[in-house]
Symmetry: C2
Subunit: 181 residues, 2 copies
């Protein structure tokens, strides 16, 4: 549903944060905070965070008046267990993202871990391309997750690949509340 809001950006770009290293979601959250600080209307769709709303960033982001959060999937990585429920969750997440991108209510839309959903075959690259083609020009789109397909890299304006030069999990250090989630 289109609104009468004057678009903040003349031309919204398509950005991808991919790669095996840590920092992809954090970079998208950092960008969202910056945009929200300038008054942009921001929608973050989490494809694989589930109901784990103790994530620290959720607390801050959900307190901002011009930020909307929608979380789907399971608490862990959806690749681990592709149940019927996971499939439904991915479908709902993609519907929510499509509505956010094309509905005229947001200036920046983040699709966090969409690449995981693509790798698992829960969403197709063609669906994402159709969404991008339907995107109003002023909407900025950020997609995250390892394993971005070549077709989306080709379409994107900005692609950062985050390489894990050193990753604490591979050194036996577990995820810590407050820092890692």
């Amino acid at each position: 549903m289109a609104t009468n809001h004057t678009p903040y950006l003349e031309k919204g770009l398509i950005s991808i944060f991919t790669g095996e290293g840590k920092g992809k979601t954090s970079a998208a959250v950092g960008n969202s905070v910056r945009a929200a600080g300038h008054g942009l209307r921001v929608c973050l769709i989490f494809f694989a965070k589930g109901k784990r709303f103790d994530h620290g960033e959720f607390k801050i982001l959900s307190s901002l008046p011009n930020v909307t959060l929608q979380s789907f999937g399971q608490a862990g990585w959806i690749l681990k267990d592709i149940s019927e429920e996971t499939r439904k969750q991915a479908e709902r997440a993609f519907e929510a993202a499509s509505e956010a991108v094309t509905g005229g209510q947001y200036d920046l839309v983040v699709m966090d871990e969409i690449m995981i959903a693509l790798t698992a075959g829960l969403v197709t690259t063609e669906q994402v391309i159709r969404m991008i083609n339907a995107k109003p020009s002023y909407v900025e789109l950020i997609m995250t997750g390892r394993g971005a397909p070549a077709e989306l890299i080709e379409l994107a304006d900005l692609v950062s690949e985050i390489k894990a030069v050193k990753h604490p999990y591979t050194r036996g250090i577990k995820a810590r509340k407050g820092i890692d989630y």
Copy 2:
């Protein structure tokens, strides 16, 4: 000055976001938002942002009660013009960072663009190593900037190198308020 605050983390790690790609500062800001959401006491020291306090992330971060921001340097990249003032600003930034890391008042300290100051010779790697050695174990430290020296990569627990697969600036798209600053 030490406080009686119970440290949030048992062991704070040292993380580096480096590389030529976009997302380094955003990742650090995203991590800060997550940490602040969990009640960690966060201090961000910006080595090269200067008085440009119209950065969108500053507005949100500075509104959070447990986040402290300190900004030094010049509005642009300090490498471009290393004046006496730039040198003094870098010195002050490093003093502020040292105080934040060792003073007991913060659980997470971000040194944004410290690598730029190192590359410019405004701060030495030895100074940073001495600071790290003086760091209480519970303090988490995040350093950003392209060109992280090998000695710091060796010391760090987490190193993400952000590669610019595609960068909009190289395609003639200029930095945009609301998204890029």
